[in-house]
Structures are given as C-alpha cells and as structure tokens.
Symmetry: C2
C-alpha cells in the first residue's frame, strides 16, 4: 500500500477513529478540526455528554486495537429501567444472554481517540474551519487565525458531522439528493448528581426511562457516579418547551411527571434554563462520494439518538472501510464507490429504526402488549436461538447489516402482530405453536 | 393599505407576476434579478422553452387583469396525441367538455410580465446576485458589477427559483426541514421545425407523446409553428444519456424508437450534442416563512414537469397571497403564516402528483387498462358531473385545492382498481352500476 496522503475533516469521534485506522494501515494522515483542542480547552457542547457504545462500535475499536482501553471507560447497562409515575421500577433486559450496552463519556472517548491518532503519527490541525472543497484535485480551503490556507491531499474524508462542510459543498453540485428532517421533539440535558456519600443515586447498570407517551426522560450513568438526564419533549404546542417558560412551571411539571427523578435533581430549574434546547435531525444523502472525496459518519447519515446507534453506525463505516482497504490493498475511487454502495442502504435502515424507536421508548415500553411481545420473543429465541433474534439485540449485539436487521425485524413484527391479535393470548401464550411462528420467517 | 416597501428576489415568471400583483395593491415593489435583462440580451437557458398554462395560472393572470393579453400568446392543446412505434396516432382528450391547456413560450410570457411589472411602477434591478439575507430586519446583500450592496425593505419574497438564495439562507438556520430529490431521468430539449411551407409539421392542437415505458419523447407547439421536443431519459444505466454517446448511436436509437418524429428533426444529432442534459428535482421545505421573509414558487416547491403544473402552482401561490391581502388589508407576519399554512399541503400534493404522472405519461397512456379506465371515468363524469371529476381535469381545469384533488384522486383510483379487477370488464363495462361507484366516493 503506497504512502498516500489522506486528509480527514473533523476530529470528532468518527474522524479521530478513521484517522487512526488509516495511519495504522500506512497512510500519511492530516486531521483538520474547526474547534480548538478539547484536551486543552473546556468546550461547551450542544452535543450529548454520554453515549451508548455497543457491538458495532466495539468492533471498529478492536480493528485498531484499543477496545481494551475503551472498555475501562464504560459503565455496562444491562437493560431499560422503566420508571412509572408512582415511582415503580421495572427492569427490561436488552439481551437474551446478559448482553449489555455501555455508557461512555463523549469527551473522554474523543480525547482518547485523538491521543491514539497522534500516537500513530496523525497530525491534527485545530482551529481550522473548512470553507470549501475541490473534489477532483482534491483540496480544501480553511480559515484559521492567520487567514486562509488551501491544502491538497490524495483523498479527503468528511467526518465533520451533521452540519458537514464537505456535504455543504456537495449540495451545490447537480444531481445531489439531500434531506434534513427535524422531528417535532427537541431535547435538553439535565443532571442527577452523585449522592452526598459519593454513590450512584439510582441503579447504575441500566438505562433509565421515564416513558410518558408523547415525551420521556432518560438517564445514563457517568464514571463520576452522576447521571446525565435528557428530556425529550415537544418543541411547540400545548405541553412543550414553549410552555415550560418559567421556573415554577418547570418544577411543578417535573414533580408531577417525574417525581422520583425530581427529588434527585437539586439543580433542575437552573439547569433547565441554563442549558440549551436542541433539535433532533435526520440527514440522508446520496451520493457519499464525489471525485476523490467521501462522507463518513454523521456527515453522511445523521440520525436521531433513540437506538443508541449514531456513534456505532459511524464507527461501523470506518470498520467497513478498513475491511475494504485490506481487500483492495489500496485506497482508490473504486473502493470508495464500494464503500458507498455498501453503507447507504445500512444508513437508511438505521435512520428509520432510530425514528421508530422514539415511539417505542417514550410510549410502548410501558404497554402490556409490548411487554407480552418481549416475553414471547424471548421464548422464541430460547427455543430457536439461531432462527429468531429479536430486533433490538439484532441491531445492538449482532453485526448483521442494519438493512438486513431492518428487513427481518419487519417480518418478525408482522408475525407478532398476528399473534397479539389472538384472543386471550396474554394468558395462553405459552401454548403457542412456536415452531410454526419461526417457520413463517422463511 | 400602507405604502410598504416589498422586495422580491427573482424576476422569473413568479417574481414578475408577484411584483405586479403587489404593485397593483399599492405597495412599493423592488424586484432584484441575478441575470441581465432578458429583453435586451439573449440568455441561454437550461430552462424549458415552453410551458403549459392552465386554470390556476390563468386565475392569477386574471387577478392582475392580463389574462386576455396572455391568451393571445397561447396555443391550445386539447389532449395527448399518443405516437406508437409504428407511427399510429391516438388522441386522448384532456377535458370532459373540450377544455384545453395552453402551450406558451417561457421567455415571451416572462418578458410580458416584466413589462407589466414596470408599467405598474415596479423597479427592476438586473445583474444583482443575492448572496445573503437577514430575515428579521429584513435586508438582502447583493453582488453587482459595482461591488456589494445591502438593501432593506419591509418584507422580502424569495421568488428566486429551484436554487433559491433566500432558501439557502434558511438552510443555515436550526429546525429547517429540507429535501431535494432528483429522479433517475433527466431531459434534453430538441426541435421539430416548421415545414418548408411554414406550417406545423404535426397536429398543433395537442401535446404529443411518444411513450416508451421507461422513457418518452414529448412535443409542445410554438407560435412560430415549430415544436419544442423534450426527451425524458435515464441519466445512467444500460439505455441512458451515458450510452447515447456518439452521433450514430443517437440517430439509430431515435430512428428505431421515434421514427415518425425523427423524420421531422433534421438537426437532431447536432441539437442532441449541442444542448445540455438537465436533471429533474423535487424540492420540499418547511417553514416557508422566516422573520419578515417568505418563499414562493419554485423556491418553495420545485416539482418535476410531468403534470404541467410548475408555473401554475407558483402563480396560484400569488393568487392565494392576493386573496389574503384583500382579507387582511395589510401585509404582516400573520398573513404570511396563513399563506404558508394554506400552501404547504398543496405544494406537497402537486409534488407527489407530478412524480406519479411521469409513470402515467411514459408508460400507462399506452396501456389498454388505462384507456379503459379513462372511458369508464368519462362515463361516470357524464352521468354525475358534480360528483365524479377525474383527477387530471380536477388538477388542471378546476381550482379545487391540490391537496383535496390528490385525496379525492386516491379514492377514485382505489374504486377503479376494484372495477378493473373484474373479469371481462373490458367487454361489459357499460353494464357497471355507475351509481354505486359514485356513492363509494362518499
């Protein structure tokens, strides 16, 4: 493999991982980041504080040999802990065999990935804002403190996030298909601090959900024993961020809807008015490759956070690219087009799944029919572990392509819809003909 | 109504009509156009040469009192003239009662509308390229030959087309939903000139179609007795613009597929390689209003041309705005939000209908089932003229809202799908229970 020079735009999670992977495969890699070095400066976010890392993300970290380091930063979450209005708890395990997802700090992981990139010879240029890209040369223009610079490379990857500069340059070209769609809910981050004696205030091994129909609160544990709490809530309308406009309204609303959590949030009202309200966007586009440039991660496929797959999908892009580099033994346009053809259908699938999962999390997890379905699917999996893996573990704990998981999930749901229509199935589900159900999957 | 100052971006068809309407209602109107004055300079297009003007467009021209002038520039087209491979012709009337659509020159109509705007006191600034807009002040930045100017107004309308500068400014704001989707076909314009003795080479009172399954040729008459011919054809793939890459291939393909037209196109091959190949995009967005600015026409809702409604939809935007101005007696943000709420669902509907009509035009018009359906629907309309108006005349010759027409059209199609499933319906359709069919519409 030749010592080609690869430029990566964006030193976020995906850009830093991609740069490390490319450097390990022998490329010269330059990584350009719009913001200052987060390892030296406190950045205020607008980005989520912690994330869920699962199989697909770990696979990419294994590919570059740092999964063990990363695992030390993780807090396992074995299931959803559902909180009803009365404060009753119900644990719904994620996996069929004790599998778990991992709560991890976005900043912590990003810093580790930047360090790994530099350790492998990647040069990172901070405070460089990309303003334009020539796809064919290829070269990129940047604004920095000194003024404007233009830099060339053999290939350029845009790992520059949901508001990608490279993708904005694509947008000015003919025949580029593009869509950005916001859901009607936005989100705001809050906090449950550690207890006075330095412990987790609620169970640490779960992703906590307060499902309330059209909105929800969730909480993920942090290493410092606090929880990052996120309210997903309508942006406009009768019960919305617009109507929670003064302190008393917020306090009263939280006490009524999320009483057990509110007790644990001493800074609730200050956080509510001090922290930003952010939108939730799905970005889809096609193509991902133009000339000698390509999009990757959120730049190619920003998704809503409800499947916990945003980072994992971006890391899987890198993993697939790494596999293709091993196969082609060089980076060229054919490889990029193969990457694009493989990943666009998978990105479409996880975008759809993530949108659907908001409904599941905020509403269905509290529904007896949903809980019954989970029970039946668990039994199906126990009896036919190779033939029936429910959708959530298929997406989260397997590395089946997202597009295949989505297709299988639709078939499973159609079968389960039929089953759940049967009268008194809640009482006699154990007498179902499980083999016949599995055979319907084909 | 106060003498507010309105800025309109884009002196195309919709911008010029809108400016005239606003000036007639007593506003001071400034119209800014990126290109030079088309009345003084030959512009090379990239835009279609002629268009179909129908009810909704005419209604807006009536509103500003110039429908009579425009009608003099029109050539009526009473139906689709279908050409099969053998050169056989079949006329499919558009209306139930002799209604017709009008072929009109884009440039001719645009020049007339610019003249009308100026006659009503609108000041047009040519060679002004809008580079940015402040929505709240509001003001717009332009580049012109002298450099950069910033101009303020009370309200700004973006009538600046499918690649709108105002919409591009919206795209940089949070929570803006946006989609641009190209279909896999593009188009190229060709010509059938007048005969040596100065007559139309084929029937002038029809829109000619050579439907060929996955592609088609169409022809619309011009006042100079020529026809503008448009090939709608896949951009990529086995039979596509990519594969028609040399003169012999083009000539041979046309002779095989469109023999009767090819005889009448002496400059076919030169035109084919001299004229651009253009893409076909659908643009959808939401909101259309930000601060004291609003989108209108293609800037808000670019659609594919297959229903002949692009210009008509844009003109109807102006008509609706004119009605709202009469109702509110002033231009303000409430009025703009009402315009937006009324027009977004209608724009969504005509965008969908236009996409569907490509399939109808290139494929279904040659299908015996389609022709049978048209016969049955014609009978339904004769028997129940107030209850059953087929979709095409509903969209083209009525001013029912596009969204309502679309909803009724879906119901009609579901009823007709059932009817067409009946065995030997082709032979005994006259014995159908027509009253029962009409009643199913509800």
């Amino acid at each position: 493999m030749g010592k080609k020079h690869i430029m990566v735009l964006g030193a976020g999670l995906v850009g830093s991982l991609l740069s490390t992977m490319l450097a390990k495969k022998g490329f010269k890699v330059s990584l350009y980041e719009r913001r200052p070095d987060m390892r030296k400066t406190q950045l205020d976010g607008g980005r989520s504080i912690n994330l869920a890392l699962s199989k697909r993300g770990l696979k990419a970290l294994e590919q570059i040999g740092i999964d063990h380091k990363v695992k030390k930063m993780c807090i396992p979450m074995h299931g959803r802990m559902i909180h009803d209005r009365a404060g009753n708890l119900q644990m719904q395990p994620y996996g069929m065999n004790g599998e778990f997802i991992n709560s991890i700090s976005r900043a912590g992981l990003n810093e580790l990935l930047m360090n790994e990139a530099e350790r492998n010879g990647v040069k990172i240029y901070f405070d460089h804002k990309c303003t334009d890209v020539d796809f064919d040369k290829p070269e990129a223009k940047f604004e920095n403190e000194q003024g404007e610079v233009t830099v060339g490379a053999d290939f350029i990857f845009g790992a520059d996030g949901a508001f990608s500069a490279l993708r904005n340059a694509y947008l000015k070209t003919p025949l580029f298909n593009y869509s950005q769609q916001y859901i009607t809910a936005g989100y705001k981050e809050l906090v449950i601090p550690a207890t006075p004696d330095g412990d987790f205030a609620i169970a640490s091994n779960a992703l906590h959900i307060w499902p309330r129909g059209s909105y929800m609160l969730i909480a993920l544990p942090n290493l410092d024993k606090s929880f990052t709490v996120t309210l997903f809530f309508p942006m406009k309308g009768q019960t919305s961020f617009e109507t929670l406009s003064h302190k008393e309204a917020v306090q009263e609303f939280f006490e009524k809807e999320f009483a057990d959590a509110t007790e644990l949030m001493p800074t609730l009202v200050d956080d509510f008015f001090g922290n930003p309200t952010s939108g939730l966007v799905t970005v889809r586009c096609n193509p991902w490759v133009k000339g000698k440039t390509a999009l990757i991660g959120d730049a190619a496929h920003a998704i809503v956070p409800f499947y916990g797959q945003g980072m994992n999908a971006g890391f899987e892009d890198c993993f697939v690219l790494g596999q293709l580099l091993d196969k082609h033994e060089d980076l060229n346009r054919d490889l990029l087009k193969e990457y694009e053809a493989l990943r666009i259908p998978d990105a479409e699938a996880i975008a759809d799944l993530a949108l659907y999962n908001f409904i599941e999390m905020r509403d269905k997890v509290a529904d007896p029919q949903f809980i019954l379905q989970k029970k039946i699917e668990k039994r199906l999996n126990e009896l036919y572990p190779k033939k029936w893996l429910p959708l959530y573990p298929m997406v989260t704990f397997s590395d089946l392509r997202y597009s295949e998981a989505h297709a299988i999930g639709k078939k499973q749901q159609a079968i389960m819809d039929e089953v759940l229509k049967q009268p008194s199935v809640a009482n006699n589900w154990e007498q179902l003909d499980f083999e016949a159900l599995v055979e319907k999957l084909g």
